[in-house]
Amino acid sequence: MTNPTRIEINCETGVESIIELTDAEVAQMEADRVAAAARKAEEDAAASALATLKASAKAKLIAGQPLTAEEADTLVI
């Protein structure tokens, strides 16, 4: 089975080449993909948690209920 290929454009000559990735490059791509996905998941989770806290803070304000410190942090800079 062949590895994926990449397009390389030589800016000096304008020559375009199609180059098969080495096994090491494929492994690096996979490692990069996993790491990036993990960081994105962390960011998404943090954003979701913040949105939940804001919604809770808003609901409590409307209802005249006390906020938790975490909820207040979403309102006060």
Binding site: I7, E8, N10, C11, A31, A35, A36, K40, E42, A47
Partner: protein, 170 residues
């Protein structure tokens, strides 16, 4: 203040491609500007940059929105300058392409290299990414090649375009 801007190379994909590399970049400009219009074959929302084949020293801070909330994130000690939210993905409106302008000042200098990115996903819907991104490659080598590679296992689809400009300030 830049007073010249020259197209170094342009590539429009005739068929899908895993990644694109601009190599042997001339060292005769002051700054580089990379402009992309891209769409992914899978539900993958980002691509990354790699300079000179180096797999170390990358970091970033970014602000991004998804249509409902504003978010921030950062990464350091990375093997690639990842997370540039500049592509439309499979689930987005057909035939839409995300776009980005990537500015790399002083790419031949002996200092670490900074990168600024203005990127967005394109789709006819309420949820789409837009991003401001500050990247750093902690390396003093002049940039001679740039690899643009998807953050996921997908490919850039046909008609994705990649333009590399050189900018001189004198």
């Amino acid at each position: 203040m830049a007073n010249t801007m020259t197209l170094i190379e342009a590539k429009t994909l005739a068929s899908s491609a895993t990644s694109i590399t601009f190599s042997s970049i001339p060292q005769t400009y002051t700054d580089l500007k990379l402009v992309t219009s891209a769409r992914m074959s899978l539900n993958s929302t980002a691509y990354g940059l790699n300079f000179n084949g180096s797999t170390s020293g990358y970091s970033y801070k970014r602000l991004w929105g998804d249509g409902s909330t504003a978010n921030s994130g950062q990464g350091s000690s990375l093997t690639i300058m990842e997370g540039i939210l500049a592509v439309s993905q499979l689930s987005n409106t057909a035939n839409t392409f995300g776009s980005a302008e990537i500015y790399i000042p002083n790419y031949t200098s002996g200092n670490n290299k900074s990168v600024s990115v203005d990127a967005l996903m394109e789709t006819n819907g309420t949820s789409a990414y837009t991003e401001l991104y500050a990247g750093l490659w902690g390396n003093t080598a002049a940039i001679t090649s740039i690899l643009i590679t998807p953050a996921d296992s997908g490919s850039f689809v046909q008609y994705s375009t990649f333009y590399l400009y050189g900018i001189k300030n004198s």
